[in-house]
């Protein structure tokens, strides 16, 4: 579904991202982990054509994202609160996004029914603007809005951060349900190794802009990732173990 070739991004001579080749097949749940500054958000921003690549291309369903806008109808995302319109109520925001994705009000209302549990009664009918919601609730709105209109590719940056434990568990179930049918490609980044290993079938580790590990999730994955992030020396060992 998504193919990345020779993609790099430089800021003033410093390379923050450099990926030779990465292919994410349709229906995969893809996890991206890495420390601060590893290039996770940069990669996602490049996927959404929010920043200009220094070289290389991103193909989303064979469409070059920096050349055409045709990828927008089937791609949805939530990167940060700059994706929310602060002066709308959550309902209005959902309806607005719904309209952009050719869903009428009734469709959106039906769609939102499934999320009543996820919202925990704090989002809908509150007569509040989005800017007045808490950070966690804003995030819930952003994530759910990214699911409106059956997108084929969903990109979520740090979806677990700022959420309470109950919601984290609900969100994991949500993501697993999404990818069950193998129709929807979900890309997630996270600092939380446990969450990613639980929901993603494939995990890519970024470090200083480079792919340093590409793992198919298994029982051992969490241990492997933990030891990687615990220290550099152990990484060597892990990589040797792998090979």
């Amino acid at each position: 579904m998504i193919t990345i070739t020779n993609l790099s991004k430089n800021y003033n001579g410093t390379t923050v991202l450099n990926i030779d080749h990465l292919k994410i097949p349709k229906g995969q749940s893809f996890g991206l982990v890495g420390n601060n500054g590893a290039g996770k958000t940069t990669l996602f921003s490049l996927l959404l054509d929010l920043i200009r690549p220094s070289s290389g291309n991103v193909f989303n369903n064979d469409i070059t994202v920096s050349q055409s806008e045709e990828w927008k109808p089937f791609t949805a995302s939530f990167i940060d609160e700059s994706f929310l319109i602060g002066y709308l109520t959550p309902e209005e925001y959902f309806n607005f996004i719904g309209e952009l994705r050719n869903r009428n009000k009734a469709d959106v209302a039906t769609f939102l029914k499934d999320f009543e549990d996820f919202f925990n009664g704090e989002i809908l009918n509150q007569k509040k603007y989005l800017r007045d919601l808490s950070k966690g609730n804003q995030k819930k709105v952003g994530i759910v809005a990214a699911l409106i209109g059956d997108p084929k590719v969903i990109i979520l940056d740090e979806p677990f951060a700022n959420l309470d434990p109950t919601t984290q568990i609900k969100l994991k179930k949500l993501i697993r349900d999404l990818t069950e049918s193998s129709e929807v490609t979900v890309l997630i980044s996270s600092h939380d190794l446990i969450h990613v290993t639980e929901v993603c079938e494939r995990i890519v580790v970024l470090d200083k802009g480079k792919v340093v590990n590409d793992i198919k999730t298994s029982e051992a994955t969490l241990k492997e990732l933990e030891s990687y992030f615990a220290g550099d020396q152990q990484v060597q060992e892990v990589q040797e173990d792998l090979s």
């Binding site: 959404l48 054509d49 929010l50 920043i51 200009r52 806008e69 927008k72 109808p73 791609t75 995302s77 990167i79 940060d80 700059s82 994706f83 929310l84 319109i85 602060g86 002066y87 709308l88 109520t89 209005e92 607005f96 996004i97 309209e99 952009l100 994705r101 007569k127 509040k128 603007y129 800017r131 007045d132 209109g149």
Partner: protein
């Protein structure tokens, strides 16, 4: 401590992504500043001779005093429209070990150190020097007079601070003030109660008793304290920086549905305008400017200078375009990355902006039709100007919008948030009005008024006919600058 604040502001200016635009404007404003400084200085030097010539049987100072109140009112009006209040990014300072009072004092003192406060000195000091050489008035009286007038002007500055905040908080609060001023002006005009005369007498009395200069000084100190108190009180997150959740306005603007596929964006823009204080003021401003024609149309002098009507026509029908349009797409800055990654073709987004502004021009033109009372040529002119605005000025504004890099904080309360509401805002409007004036003037001078009007309307129509290719061109500009815009709009702070 002030050193630190100045350092912060310096960095904020030079590290801002709209630096180029800011410097360009600063240079332009620098020239304007020099121009006004020279004018004021000449006026200051010429005031004494002029007053003796026009009113030979009255002492010049007595005459000057009669104009002081009028001057103060003018100062207030100009400051209100032009002066940008000092902005500081307050939130990070809240938890820093800095006394609130220090920050507040810095803001207030910085407001004093301003070009607008230098200008009156250029007037007062030469006049005072003339007085001391040409008249018998005691030096102490002259000094007292100068101190009094100057502190009155500075008081106007702080008064402006107070009402400017009131204005953005709550427009209705300003109404009684305007009403009182209107009543006083009417009473003055019909010789019922000449307040300028009484004020002038008061100033004369002050010249005789120079120690009374303490009164304006005390007024100034009181206004300073009032502002200080006001700002300190609002120095809390929940009070002015965050703002508690109020009962929300859920008006849907469903009537825009009929505009087809740009309807959702129009709806969004109307909500933007209606729910945020900053854009909301552009609406009220537009309605106030509707009265602008009354200044020009009744006067016969402008009948022989009909080029002015172009200016008035463009301004009145395009005031919303100028005030709102020049910040496109910065109004959407806080969620611009979403707009750029959502299922929104750029073209449709731009088309909706054109739709909104065109709609405003049509409405404003309809509102100006009563000016037909002053002659059909005015009605025709305003319609031609409206067409010119729609066809030519709207694309120009949209195109310049693609160079916009400056985020507008819609969600910040107006407290210390006056981005772009200073003189710079009006400067952008100048080319929009000067170009049609430059086109019209030679035509009406050497051909005829009718031809001039027809050419303006024709240019507008041409723009409307060529809308398709023009919009393609603008779209390319937006696409080219897309990344820089996203980057710039992410920058918070100044």
């Amino acid at each position: 401590m002030f050193k630190h604040f100045i350092y912060l502001q310096w960095k904020a200016f030079f590290r801002s992504s709209s630096l180029g635009k800011s410097i360009g404007l600063k240079i332009l404003m620098g020239f304007l500043a020099i121009y006004f400084a020279v004018i004021f200085l000449l006026l200051g030097i010429g005031m004494y001779p002029l007053l003796t010539e026009f009113y030979p049987d009255q002492p010049p100072l007595h005459m000057a005093n009669r104009f002081v109140l009028l001057w103060l009112v003018m100062e207030l009006v100009f400051r209100f429209m032009l002066k940008t209040l000092p902005v500081m990014t307050v939130k990070p300072l809240l938890i820093a070990p800095i006394k609130k009072r220090k920050v507040v004092n810095y803001v207030l003192i910085k407001s004093l150190i301003s070009f607008y406060n230098l200008l009156p000195l250029l007037l007062i000091i030469p006049f005072g020097i003339f007085l001391s050489f040409k008249t018998e008035i005691a030096p102490l009286s002259i000094i007292g007079w100068m101190v009094a007038v100057y502190t009155l002007i500075l008081s106007v500055d702080y008064f402006n601070f107070l009402i400017k905040k009131k204005f953005t908080d709550n427009l209705k609060a300003l109404l009684p003030l305007v009403l009182i001023a209107a009543v006083l002006a009417a009473l003055e005009y019909f010789d019922v109660f000449r307040i300028t005369l009484y004020f002038g007498n008061g100033m004369d009395y002050l010249v005789e008793n120079p120690w009374l200069a303490i009164v304006p000084v005390l007024l100034f100190a009181a206004l300073y304290k009032l502002n200080q108190h006001n700002l300190e009180r609002r120095f809390y997150l929940d009070d002015s920086l965050g703002g508690p959740a109020k009962e929300v306005n859920t008006q849907e603007f469903n009537w825009v549905r009929r505009f087809g596929d740009i309807a959702p964006f129009l709806q969004l823009d109307l909500k933007l305008i209606w729910r945020n204080k900053r854009p909301k003021t552009t609406i009220f401003l537009s309605l106030i400017i509707m009265g602008y024609g009354l200044i020009f149309y009744p006067q016969d002098t402008y009948e022989s200078m009909r080029t002015m009507y172009v200016f008035v026509g463009i301004f009145m029908t395009g005031i919303f375009m100028i005030n709102f349009g020049q910040f496109i797409p910065a109004w959407d800055a806080t969620y611009y990355s979403m707009m750029m990654s959502q299922n929104i073709p750029l073209k449709k987004y731009l088309a909706s902006k054109v739709g909104l502004i065109t709609f405003s021009i049509v409405v404003l033109t309809i509102l100006t039709t009563p000016y037909v009372y002053f002659g059909t040529h005015i009605l025709v002119m305003n319609i031609a100007c409206a067409i010119y605005n729609i066809g030519v000025n709207v694309p120009i504004l949209l195109y310049t919008g693609s160079f916009n890099r400056k985020r507008i904080e819609l969600e910040k309360s107006p407290f210390m948030n006056y981005q772009g509401t200073g003189a710079a805002q009006w400067l952008v409007g100048i080319p929009l009005m000067l170009i049609p004036v430059a086109i019209f003037w030679p035509l009406t001078r050497w051909v005829s008024y009718e031809v001039g009007v027809a050419v303006l309307a024709g240019l507008g129509l041409l723009g409307i006919i060529l809308r398709g290719p023009i919009m393609d061109f603008i779209e390319r500009a937006y696409r080219k600058n897309k990344y820089a815009m996203i980057e710039g709009f992410k920058q918070t702070g100044e």
